[in-house]
Amino acid sequence: MSAEVLREFLACRAEGDLLPWSAQCEASERFGRSVAEIEAAALDWELLPGRYRRNRETVSVADQLRLFHSRVGVIGCGGLGGYLIEQLARLGVGTLVLVDPDVFEEHNLNRQLLSSPAHLGRAKVDVARERVAAINPAVTVAPHRTAFSRDNGRELLSGCSAVVDGLDDVLVRRELAAVCRDLGVPLVHGAIAGWYGQVAVQLPGGDLSRLLRPTSSSGKGVETKLGNPSFTPAVIASLQTAELAKILLGRGKLLADRALFVNLLDMDFDEIRHG
């Protein structure tokens, strides 16, 4: 069936310029195309899938199409990663490349959004793929159950519009930052420990490795003493998602050449220059 027939079909079922989810599913079935393909077609014709209605004062239809055509690498699917994946999928980023070697363990349950007793022992990337399919089936997920390294990094991140750091090791973070510099892909860094967190952006040509001092041979920081409560990853991942959205949409002022150090215990937000 031609694109014109599909266009007519969607236009007839649109409410104003909003395309209800039921119509997106009906079109998918009728025309034998994925809901993602229907979403792309609808956005091309300036129809906004109804699920994004509350985005629209912040994210225009053209912006939503840009997000749909974006591919974001999420490296680490634990504390930060779970919130990052949830928010990026709901925002409408079209493709998520998920990288994590681990399975869910009991000590993840205090904070990792995607963890639950039923998922103990299951691969984090598999649970993440199911979660995205459940909340926004128009998002394509490329799961990789592997540990990120300099060796596999280029291949994992190929074609990514931006990358976000959900790792739990400073040394691997340095490798991620190096691969992103080599590829010229923007990176949104985030790290947490106890009540504290930090966020920064590395744009092509920039270098945030001075924030990631290799002082600890274990690759671990003060989180080994402080642990990680439920709210810190949620805060830091949300700040990272805002930076990612701005990178993908070319908006606002980024945390490039500076970092934000967050102290939730005293509610202090300090800026660190690192240019």
């Binding site: 680490g76 634990g78 504390g79 930060l80 990663g81 750091d165 959900g166 790792l167 739990d168 090791d169 400073v170 973070r173 985030g190 790290a191 947490i192 420990a193 106890g194 009540w195 504290y196 967190g197 930090q198 001075r210 924030l211 001092r213 002082t215 600890s216 041979s217 690759g219 671990k220 920081g221 003060v222 989180e223 080994t224 003493k225 402080l226 990680n228 990853p233 970092a259 150090f261 102290n263 215990l265 300090d270 660190i272 220059r273 690192h274």
Partner: protein, 73 residues
């Protein structure tokens, strides 16, 4: 005279900000050691807003900021 600012866990049992008279030629590493801060716990070390290494010798009037290394995700 140097101003030393400590962040997050480094404030515990110490201070948020203090002005200290330090002997000329003292390195950041020595200052950190005298504060009882473990070097491997330092994430960011700034001297008057610029990144510096432990071997750096600050000048009179500098402000030193010391942040802990955050590695979790």
């Amino acid at each position: 005279m140097l101003t030393i600012k400590l962040f997050a866990t480094f404030q515990k049992g110490r201070f948020e900000a203090a002005r200290r008279e330090c002997p000329p030629g003292i390195t950041l590493g020595k200052i950190v050691d005298e504060l009882g801060i473990a070097r491997e716990e330092i994430g960011v070390l700034l001297v008057s807003g610029r990144h510096a290494e432990l071997e750096h010798v600050p000048a009179a009037g500098d402000t030193i900021a010391i942040f802990p290394l955050l590695g979790g995700g």
